[in-house]
Amino acid sequence: MSTAITRPADSIIEELAARKRWRLHHIAFAGVVIAFLAWCADGVDLRPKELGAALPAIGEYFYRMAPPKWEFAEVLWKPAVETLYIALWGNVIALVIGLPLGVLAAANVTRSAVLRNCAKAVLNFLRSVSELIWAIFFVAAVGLGPFPGALALGVNFGGILGRLYAEALENIDNGPVEALQATGASRLQVIVYAMFPQALPQFVTYNLYWFEVGVRSATVLGMVGAGGIGFELVTTIRLFEWRETGVVLLLILAMVTLIDLASTWIRSRIY
């Protein structure tokens, strides 16, 4: 090995500084971004002044919630459990819909561009219609209750999870895939033995996270009659029963925190 210097260190340090220096086009780019944000601010009718004036009013709402009317929890526990059921079954349905579509949408699994793009189009459609809109459709189709809520979550989350599954599959190491092809394994066997095991921790992480998201979403679904704790939330707000509203919000916070703790624990076990 030769250690002859082909270039003085000083010149490399100088070039490093020069590369870091803000150039005119950097400043111009930042200017364009700021201008664009300002233009959009007009579009959303940003009124920071009024927000500032309204802040005490919002604080007032929370003030009225104290002290929470704990007896109300007796009425609440049933819809709260129902919310968990909706989130759980929403995730199961999302898995059933998202996994096959995600496999079809992954470039390293599905060679046919036509098939892949069809799967992506379906996923995009499921994802772009929000769970609240799906809930309205499903309430109309199967009636009020938790069932349309679970369906709505399942269909919307299926579109999201399918996309995430596809990305997880695309990021796996190709070496084991090649090794299993070399054993004479069929395409499906390669997917199940070389691809799924590698992507599994990602799959589990995504499902746990979207279960948590599902609990939060299910609290809203009640507004359109799709079951869960959302119905009580809206009702107490409409009736100005602030102390009851406080209990509902605390219960939702407790559920989300518990799920977060549980999923952290599960994820630490699966890697």
């Binding site: 084991p176 070399a182 054993t183 004479g184 066997q189 033995y193 921790p201």
Partner: protein
């Protein structure tokens, strides 16, 4: 017996990896293919088990043509075990399950989807693990093993295919010299006992001298030497490793 006739491969994008390779490998031989990185050794092995389709030429295995026809790829591939530089085990599966994947080429898709194998396959897998002295770690996850241990499991996986040929692509390039010799030793011992032909890519001359029955030297997509390891003179090694582009190649008798 493997016969390679006029084999060429040009990848899309114009990289010419192989140029008119002619080679015969008798059954049961331990052949080392020696050459620098980029000589086309990997492509040559992958043309034999059809992981790569050659642009021209044919490969025969015991008289039957492997290349060309669209035939049953699974049936072709399962005759050739393969060992890789990066081991390529499925890290999250157990040692035993990794070896069992060597049986997938023989098994129906539907049963294997449930991670279920017949008892006969389990016995084959355990026997193959015992050959590389890894049966005591059958239930350990593959990612808990050292590099040398992983490669031994990978050899067991290849053996589990009950292949007639093992294609080893730089099997010891990422191992230290002591472990490398041990792994090559296991490979030679198992294949000799079972009468398996081995085509082993290497770039280290020492190992070629130590383990090969015959050496093929490759450079820039062509075979530039064929003979015993003893015949590897400095001159020939120079030709394998330092051939300049455009330099004419004398065909070795």
């Amino acid at each position: 017996m493997i016969s390679i006739r006029g084999l060429s491969k040009t990848y899309t994008g114009g990289v010419r990896a192989l140029h008119n390779i002619n080679l015969d490998v008798p059954a049961g031989e331990f052949l080392v293919i020696l050459g620098p990185s980029g000589a086309g050794k990997s492509t040559l092995l992958r043309c034999i088990n059809r992981l790569v389709d050659p642009s021209e030429g044919k490969v025969f295995h015991d008289g039957a043509e492997i290349t060309g026809h669209r035939g049953d790829l699974r049936a072709i591939r399962r005759q050739f075990g393969m060992v890789f530089q990066q081991f390529n085990l499925v890290k999250r599966l157990s040692v035993l399950t990794n070896v069992l994947t060597g049986r997938l080429g023989y098994r129906s898709v539907w049963r294997s989807l449930a991670y279920s194998f017949p008892e006969a396959d389990k016995r084959i897998a355990i026997e193959c693990l015992a050959r590389v002295n890894m049966d005591n770690k059958a239930f350990q996850r593959a990612d808990t093993l050292s590099g040398g241990e992983q490669q031994r499991v990978a050899i067991a996986r290849a053996l589990a295919q009950q292949p007639t040929v093992i294609l080893a692509d730089e099997p010891v390039a990422s191992l230290d010299p002591k472990i490398a010799r041990q792994v090559l030793g296991y490979l030679r011992e198992a294949t000799q006992e079972l009468g398996i032909t081995v085509l082993c890519n290497l770039h280290q001359v020492d190992y070629a001298r130590e383990f090969s029955e015959r050496v093929v030297g490759m450079s820039r997509g062509s075979v530039v030497f064929e003979g015993t390891a003893a015949a590897l003179t400095e001159d020939i090694l120079h030709r394998i490793y330092y051939r300049e582009p455009g330099e004419t190649v004398k065909e070795e008798a």
